[in-house]
């Protein structure tokens, strides 16, 4: 009966055909697009072309002829509509961690009388590390990271806070903040905001311009499917352009890199955030992967992953074998990203056993099973099969197998 339901949901899925744009191995159910998006088929052709037609044939001339030099901006322009930004505000370069360092230092320039960076416990650690690195470099009399519980955020945004730095969707439990509300609140108290969209760009409708967001960063290799370690993106709201100079100064962020001037003069607008020579192979893969989004309504992506995760939860409730997997994500589908996290003392072993059955999810230390619902690639029928595989693991038979017992001991 539930397979009938899955079939029906699949047949009503406006994104059903998108799956054909990705290369996924037979027999694998991939619930991990939130860690590493799958390979878009066209990326193969693109990399072939970059290697053989560009690097291999036109060599150094490719920087101009094949517009390698423009890729960080071009990729930024493709990401812009996905996050609700107009042209000229988004760039693609470096990693989330480095981009946060640049932005945090820039915020302290914009708020010279404030020194506090406010964030939350359980933000993705690298975000906090970026702030810790800056604090250590500048000294805590000039820069101080304060980390509070999510519930204390509203009261902690006081008039000493230079910048509120948060992840839109939490990597651990998938809980989503209200960007618009918190941005308005921060602004009312004179603070700036930096939003990390690693777990929301490409699955949640975003309106950074409309919400008046100051700065944002995000990830190329999760829901944007840009490949392992794809460069990160930055959003710099127009109104902050040319108001400061970011500290990781390098030739690609110079106003005229090929003049080889001795003094750094920042490029106008967002351009100064570029640093060294961009990794073209990785950047080209992301550029190509983004074309999948060209005709996709983000609203539809959100509707689908909401349906997927609700359907998954509904199925789980039908199986008493799964009752020990405790949902730690928000029950309200409107308050989470495209993932569900469950705690279980044997989460690691369960995750491994599930993978052996062909269902790829994530383990997050110490005890979380993290299940991602990438709306471009998943089908409802797969969830059906995935839950059944999980039931088989949890009903104890697999747990009783010697090799599984052994693995439990090892881990």
């Amino acid at each position: 009966m539930s397979l009938d339901k899955a079939t029906k949901l699949d047949s009503n899925d406006g994104l059903f055909a998108k799956r054909e744009l990705f290369s996924l191995p037979e027999g694998i159910i991939y619930l991990n697009g939130n860690s590493l998006g799958p390979l878009p088929i066209n990326v193969r052709h693109r990399l072939d072309s970059v290697l053989n037609e560009q690097w291999g044939k036109d060599l150094i001339g490719s920087w101009n002829k094949h517009e390698w030099i423009d890729l960080p901006r071009k990729v930024g322009e493709k990401i812009a509509p996905i996050i609700g930004a107009t042209s000229g505000q988004v760039l693609c370069c470096d990693s989330v961690s480095l981009n946060l360092f640049k932005l945090l230092a820039s915020c302290l320039q914009l708020r010279p009388n404030r020194k506090r960076i406010l964030s939350q416990e359980d933000n993705f650690p690298t975000d906090l590390y970026a702030a810790q690195g800056l604090q250590q470099l500048l000294g805590s009399s000039n820069c101080q990271l304060e980390v509070v519980n999510s519930r204390e955020l509203v009261s902690a945004v006081d008039d000493e806070v230079a910048v509120l730095m948060l992840s839109h969707v939490n990597f651990r439990d998938g809980a989503a903040h209200d960007i618009e509300y918190l941005t308005r609140l921060a602004h009312e108290r004179g603070a700036l905001v930096i939003w990390d969209l690693a777990h929301s760009a490409g699955i949640l409708p975003l309106s950074l311009d409309e919400w008046n967001v100051d700065f944002a960063v995000g990830c190329g290799y999760k829901y944007l499917n840009g490949g392992p370690g794809a460069p990160s993106f930055l959003y710099i709201n127009n109104r902050h352009h040319d108001q400061f100079v970011q500290p990781l100064q390098a030739w690609m962020g110079h106003k005229a890199p090929f003049n080889f001037d001795q003094e750094f003069v920042p490029a106008e607008g967002a351009g100064q955030f570029m640093t060294g020579t961009p990794p073209i192979l990785s950047l080209a893969a992301l550029d190509e992967a983004l074309d999948v989004f060209a005709d996709v309504d983000i609203q539809l992506l959100q509707e689908k992953h909401m349906l997927l995760s609700e359907y998954f939860l509904g199925m789980m409730e039908e199986y008493p074998e799964l009752k020990d997997l405790e949902l730690i994500s928000p029950k309200n589908v409107n308050k989470r990203g495209a993932q569900l996290s469950f705690s279980h003392p044997e989460a690691y072993a369960i995750c491994r056993a599930w993978a052996e059955a062909g269902v790829i999810a994530d383990f997050r230390s110490p005890n979380l099973l993290r299940v991602g619902f990438s709306p471009l690639v998943l089908r409802f029928k797969e969830l059906e099969m995935g839950v059944k595989a999980l039931v088989e693991i949890m009903d104890g038979e697999l747990f009783a197998e010697p090799r599984f017992q052994q693995r439990l001991k090892v881990t």
Copy 2:
């Protein structure tokens, strides 16, 4: 007669066969391996495998199964023998500019009573920009870049200098510093050294350990042939391990990234210099490209590019048409890297015309023609043909062509 000489030099070339490992288009003479090394043929297969067998099939599991997570160290270990370093001191990540920022800030920690960064005019600009960015962030009472003429360096290394930051081989004229001598001098005066090996790694014998160098950075996409924007490498001498914490803190530099701890604890040794998730496609290309060096004696590379550039100069002297191209590189072959630079008021137009004739060199603003002699790929016969093409351009016939006249006006 000179073609006979070229043939003889080619037949005596112990590296002659290496050219077959690279994909170079028919009819192109590539004198630009110092800007972007050509495509090693095996990189195609490697990228195919990373896309199709790894990302495409094993998906997120590839981080462990295909050891993506170890690539920054693994690539570092392959670079180590090329620069005269023993194991555990070299890493591959980020760009030269960012790695310099990390190292400069680390040097200031190691020399807390000194604030000066000493470098030279006409160092590659991004190196100076990295220092300028740090100075701006810390304030000039804590960090001050001083830039002097090359001839003034020895006297400028005084007891206020925290770190001497220099390029081994100058990007503009190819002049090479004596690393061993300047490192000893800096140490005698209590300063540290950072050497930028962008234009020397892979063509000059380097003995960083033996020379007691503190830190170094270098480039993956020039003589190492790692592809456009390939990540940079860093060398951190063992004796400085665990003596400081570099400021661009991020999860891949954490002691235990997958514990997701809230506090940054640096990885031991060189590992803390890693930052965000590495761009695997670009890193894998470099990893593969480095295999070309596995059985190559660097001494042989040096001997060959010295022969190549001397042969090139010798040929030039035979043609009065080339007398206006003024050599600005050191005449002494032992005092330069694998490049020759010539000044000429029409250098840009000459470079373009040469390219149209199939000879790819570099123009560097305002008036330099830069000719690179990558010893792994070049043959003496090609130099013969390249010089003849240059003579045809310079003898005035090409200059008289209307399309060339027009280009001269445009540029």
